[in-house]
Point group: C2
Chain length 183, copies 2
């Protein structure tokens, strides 16, 4: 299944990342491209929309990400759990991950790295601050362009370790109990 | 409902934080204590176990956290969603949050901030690096002691914005598909 995504307001990006889903990071530098899975990330600011990600130095995508200073954060759901597991357990030397998983690349508007059509949300990012990269492998990204499909309650994947994921469960609304300034 | 927690290995803390749950951070400095809700956090390292958290400078807990250089990260579940919402929407000037919510304080082993009995996991933390606090409000914590109750699939809460949470859903196991070094 593929998603037709639309422009999405940057200040609301948190709605899709704060829950802590496993994300698929795509990267491109020259003719080289790659996909990686990543679970260690956090929102850092609403506007500009900043996201911090830990990327292990042994990861094959890191070189492309550092050279290009760009990436796309894609949010997969349980429908493509198989491909997410495949990406996380495959080396780039085993062959192209786009081909191996059949995921569909789509050109972004701002960065060279591709969006993935099978993910309901994709965020084009540019490196904003690398001050924490040397000590912690922590990259701070600015989301420059957000693309999100209208999906009521996306069944995102959340990694528990040991090869086990938790799929997003039911929604609990407390909107009427929130102070307006906290919404 | 309260949980009897046991010592938990520090290298496995990721199992309870990587999924991206809303956490309750307790703090103590002298006779002052507080609780806050927080959703912007990430694992940063396995060993020592490092966790990064964004704490807004307007947050009333931040002063206690900075003065003491300590905190406890507690992980609540859907059973206490009401109290989580109360904590997130109450000012310290409205009165003591422990009293208002009825949550039970328990002394930790290492830090002065209290553990919460109604949370199935509590992590005693000491400030490890404040280099990112001035620019980003990003605190890097070392987990010094982990306390976790044996709960099969904790129904953690994950914030979607607009007063709405996603409760942790069902487990998907792919253990047999993982490379051993990736588990």
């Amino acid at each position: 299944m593929t998603y037709a995504k639309r422009d999405f307001p940057l200040h609301a990006v948190r709605q899709h990342l704060e829950t802590g889903p496993i994300i698929l990071i795509t990267s491109q530098h020259g003719s080289r491209s790659n996909i990686m899975t990543l679970g260690w990330h956090t929102m850092l600011q609403f506007s500009p929309a900043l996201v911090g990600c830990y990327i292990w130095e042994g990861n094959e995508s890191r070189d492309l990400i550092q050279r290009s200073g760009e990436c796309v954060i894609n949010v997969p759901t349980a429908e493509i759990a198989d491909q997410v597991v495949e990406i996380g357990n495959r080396h780039a030397r085993d062959g192209d991950k786009f081909e191996a998983t059949g995921l569909t690349r789509r050109s972004g508007k701002v960065v060279a790295a591709p969006l993935l059509d099978e993910c309901y949300a994709s965020f084009e990012c540019r490196l904003y601050d690398d001050a924490m990269v040397a000590n912690y492998g922590f990259f701070i990204w600015e989301v420059l362009k957000a693309h999100v499909a209208s999906v009521e309650a996306p069944r995102t994947l959340h990694y528990r370790g040991n090869g086990t994921f938790m799929a997003a469960g039911r929604e609990l609304s407390f909107t009427e109990r929130f102070r307006p300034e906290n919404l």
